[in-house]
């Protein structure tokens, strides 16, 4: 039986060490809170029996929990304490895990670097001059720094897999509907999904298994039994067909990324998998489609932060409209304001058909691309997770489009609702490179099995060129 108190003390020391290095993975955590949870856990009759007993899990600050504030990295929710906790957090606690604290993220999960966090960015533990990726960068950094072995993140367009790749850890984005969104503060509701981080495939998959399953509080969850624990590492991938979509390997792909993915494909072949070239022809429309659908939903989801009931209120205003303007103008950062404006525009009368409705049609085509490939006997797709390794602070801040394009390989899975994961497949000049496995709908088990075998067969810390 795990000594939960010892686990809490141990985790506190590791988190303190991580933060002492200036990582700023956490927006909120405390040794006292951890020890209090451990005491309560130790006193419960089920102590030590859960699947995650003794684990300490960091939680992205867009996910509501009962211990710490849930600010979403935004001034407008500074100090907000949710009166309820997310289903995913409840489930991981019921499985015996402790909540380590809340991690830094881009404001309302909008960003790819944590530079849009109102309370300061997290740093990449591998190279502190570089971003950890985002928006779930704090969770990725916490795992990479060894502060925790598992963390919850959330994805709307790659916000788990991209930071996992940048920080050299594993990140899984499950099938849409696999994990309840209840308590996940909404960004793009038709894309949002809670995902998991782990130092290895198995730990990320174990955390996902614990939080998965139908929830009556979220009508979009799949009516399936929860995912099982990952099995042992497969010695062979014979009989497994892995598709390589040509659209994800363009001319001029970053040399380190290219070398790492090529090496990983060799390993997969060595393991007995069949590598098959495939095409997902609508991939080029994914980023523009994503940047219509996600901001449109965000513009509506973020309307509730109006200063009336909770959060920031700019009280100096003379009437309610002026109060809205002052509160939202001051409470939201530049990127959030940009996306609200974008989303409001594409939903406006006269523009809806040209943008939102058209984007929904293109989304169907992107979904059909995946469905066709998987129906043709491919078990999983293998691609780079990101076009480049982690970039430096400030590098993309002035150029939103460049920032958005760092999501080019990850946002397709969110649009298509299919599961995908990123695992470290090597390093280039010391920076981690991530490889992505994309599965068919509800195919988490398959991509986890392939990822475990690949992880086992390559040295992810080795330079790839």
């Amino acid at each position: 039986m795990t000594d939960v108190r010892a686990a809490a003390r141990d985790a506190s020391a590791r988190i303190a060490a991580c933060e002492a290095k200036g990582t700023h993975a956490f927006l909120a955590w405390s040794e006292a809170a951890l020890l209090a949870q451990a005491e309560a856990m130790a006193a419960s009759p089920a102590a030590g029996a859960g699947a995650l007993s003794g684990e300490v899990v960091a939680v992205k600050d867009v996910i509501a929990d009962a211990t710490f504030p849930t600010t979403c990295g935004s001034r407008i929710l500074e100090g907000w304490r949710s009166p309820f906790e997310a289903t995913a957090v409840r489930r991981l606690r019921e499985a015996g895990a402790l909540v380590a604290g809340k991690t830094a993220c881009d404001e309302f999960a909008m960003g790819s670097s944590t530079e849009w966090c109102a309370f300061g960015p997290a740093r990449n533990p591998v190279d502190p001059s570089r971003v950890p990726g985002g928006s779930s960068g704090g969770s990725a950094a916490a795992v990479a720094a060894g502060a925790v072995t598992m963390a919850l993140g959330s994805e709307t367009g790659g916000s788990v897999r991209q930071p996992a790749a940048f920080c050299g850890v594993v990140g899984i984005k499950p099938t849409y509907g696999r994990v309840s969104r209840y308590g996940l503060v909404a960004f793009g509701s038709s894309l949002d999904q809670i995902g998991t981080f782990g130092r290895d495939v198995t730990s990320a998959a174990r955390l996902l298994a614990a939080i998965s399953g139908r929830d009556d509080r979220d009508g979009t969850t799949l009516d399936r039994i929860p995912l099982g624990e990952p099995g042992p590492v497969a010695a062979s991938l014979a009989g497994t067909v892995i598709g390589v979509p040509r659209e994800y390997f363009p001319e001029g792909l970053h040399a380190g990324v290219h070398a790492a993915t090529r090496r990983a494909l060799e390993r997969l072949k060595d393991l007995g998998a069949e590598i098959r070239g495939v095409s997902l022809p609508h991939t080029k429309y994914a980023v523009p489609t994503y940047y219509i659908v996600a901001p449109a939903e965000a513009s509506s989801n973020l309307a509730r932060y109006d200063g009336v009931r909770y959060g920031l209120r700019d009280g100096g205003a003379s009437d309610v409209r002026a109060m809205y303007r002052a509160t939202r103008g001051r409470g939201f950062g530049a990127e959030v304001r940009r996306r609200i404006l974008l989303g409001t525009y594409v939903l406006s009368a006269g523009y809806y058909d040209a943008y939102y409705r058209k984007a929904q049609r293109v989304r169907e085509l992107i979904r059909a691309d995946f469905a066709r490939v998987f129906a043709a006997g491919v078990h999983a797709l293998f691609t780079p997770t990101t076009p480049t390794p982690a970039f430096k602070f400030g590098e993309n801040l002035a150029d939103p489009i460049a920032m958005y394009l760092s999501d080019v390989y990850v946002c397709t899975a969110n649009l298509a609702w299919v599961p995908a994961l990123s695992l470290p497949i090597g390093r280039d000049q010391g920076l981690p490179i991530g490889g992505q496995l994309i599965g068919a709908m509800e195919g988490e088990g398959t991509i986890v099995r392939i990822a475990q075998a690949l992880e086992h067969s390559l040295d992810a810390t080795a330079e790839v060129r």
Binding site: S82, Y182, V185, A186, E297, V308, R309, L347
Partner: protein, 479 residues
């Protein structure tokens, strides 16, 4: 020039569910402010809506009652606007694919007689909270108890031609929705709200002209008054050569006037889009068929059946089918009270028993107890007039029989010939002139004499026995 009025109505009706549309909070009216609230209906970060099955069932029932086609697949949509009592910054409603379309409601227009108004669509949505601008000086207070309460919106085609016709439609709509127990349609408590669209055109024209929307009416008569005022305003403006602008006006019940809203408040682009938090609402054919077959008899069918089964005229049938409770009562009364023919039963219910109803919707006296009164009358122990006095007493005295009540009130008729003979003798003695005129052939004085005997008996004499005794006495004494 003579003008024709064109009216279409949008009616919001609160569904009779125990809980709210998307959460488990109570939907009860009148509780202390902000006591029936939770993360979902307060729009807290991370909360999600899950549709209430009973609300869907009631909406489907309303749709079938209004003859609509109910769609096996409909979708929820977000209607986006900022208002302090709208906690999420959007209302969950239905837009492009509503629950039901293409219905009709038959009713009697005060001007055109029996007619049908087309129902364009019926959709589900949630209510907003309620703002109070007068509770705290200089501030607005908001009560979110109503936030998330389920509503259906019922939209007509522009088929109505006058304010009075609009009111008649509303009365018929309320009757149907109450019959099928979808809503209590209480306008004062806000469980039925009406937005009216009105335009005018030259009589005989067929095109639709620019319409205005009138809101803020709190009774059916208010709707009629508001539309009358708006019609007058539009006619006057048009005749002055002004153009009617499409806008929203608010009715002021105190002054009877309609006033335009500030344009800032009405210029909404609602940016509707499909609600991503709720999957399409899919209803199986089997489920819909069950709901459809479970629909109770509607007012029109019941009116017609009563006309045939009980030999009632149309307007008579309408009186005893005003509500399902009254119609049930009437049927029970006709079967059990022993009043005789359907028409006699109708006389009792329409003329005596409905008067006992405080709200015009239910009769507070069991059919069996009402039947006791009928039997007393049939047996000659109670006059038809005295029965009217017994009935309200019977409602109040729930443990007494009708006989006991009649006795206590001293209303039991005297059929005892000895007593009646005495009153007759006294009456004839007191009115010799009238008796003489009667005997001289002025037979219509019989009524006067009967009345005098009744008066002498303080209403207790059985009029038939009095008649007999009086006729006998007049013959005897003359002979």
């Amino acid at each position: 020039m003579s003008w024709e009025t064109v009216v279409g109505l949008e009616v919001h009706v609160q569904l009779l569910t125990r809980t709210k549309m998307f959460c488990a909070c109570s939907a009860r009216f009148g509780d202390p402010p902000n006591t029936n609230v939770c993360p979902v209906c307060l729009g807290l970060p991370g909360a999600l809506p899950v549709p209430n099955e009973q609300a869907v069932r009631l909406a489907v029932r309303a749709a079938y009652a209004l003859g609509c086609a109910v769609h096996g697949r409909s979708i929820f949509a977000r209607k986006n606007y900022f208002y302090p009592d709208l906690p999420k910054g959007y209302q969950i409603s239905q837009f492009e694919e509503p629950l039901a379309t293409g219905g009709a409601l038959a009713f009697v227009s005060p001007e055109r007689g029996e007619m049908t108004v087309r129902i364009k669509r019926l959709h589900l949505e949630e209510d907003a909270g309620k703002s109070f601008h007068d509770r705290v000086p200089g501030m607005t207070a908001v009560d979110f108890n109503r936030s998330g309460v389920p509503l259906v919106e019922i939209v007509t085609d522009p088929d109505l031609r006058s304010p009075a016709e609009a009111r008649a439609y509303l009365t018929a709509l309320k009757q149907v929705l109450r019959y099928v127990e979808v809503s209590d349609c209480n306008m004062e408590e806000g469980s039925l709200r009406v937005d009216a669209n009105l335009s005018i055109r030259p009589a005989g024209a067929s095109e639709l002209r620019t319409r205005t929307e009138v809101k803020n009416m709190n009774s059916f008569s208010g709707v009629e008054r508001a539309l009358t005022a708006e019609r007058a305003r539009q006619i006057a403006a048009t005749e002055r050569g002004e153009r009617i602008e499409q806008r929203t006006l608010l009715f002021d019940a105190a002054s009877g006037e309609v006033r335009p809203m500030r344009s800032k408040e009405e210029s909404h682009d609602y940016r509707y889009f499909p609600e991503p938090d709720i999957p399409p609402l899919v209803l199986s054919e089997a489920w819909l068929a069950t709901e459809r077959s479970a629909l109770p008899e509607l007012p029109a069918a019941r009116r017609e059946r009563f006309e045939h089964s009980f030999g009632l005229a149309g307007p008579e049938s309408a009186v005893v089918t005003a509500t399902a409770a009254i119609a049930d009562y009437f049927e029970g009364f006709a079967a059990k009270a022993g009043a005789g023919s359907g028409k006699e039963a109708w006389n009792w219910v329409a003329n005596d028993l409905l008067g006992l109803s405080g709200d015009g919707e239910t009769i507070p006296l069991a059919v069996e107890r009402a039947g006791e009164v009928v039997q007393l009358v049939k047996a000659g122990k109670l006059s038809r007039q005295a029965a009217k006095r017994v009935l309200p007493e019977l409602v109040a005295a729930s443990h007494d029989t009708a006989l006991e009540v009649a006795e206590r009130l001293g209303l039991l008729q005297v059929s005892d010939t000895g007593a009646i003979d005495t009153w007759v003798r006294e009456t004839l003695a007191a009115h010799p002139a009238e008796v003489a005129r009667y005997r001289a052939g002025e037979v219509k004085l019989m009524g006067f004499l009967v009345g005098q005997v009744m008066k002498r008996s303080q209403g207790k004499a059985d009029p038939r026995a009095v008649n007999a005794a009086l006729s006998a006495a007049l013959v005897t004494t003359s002979g």
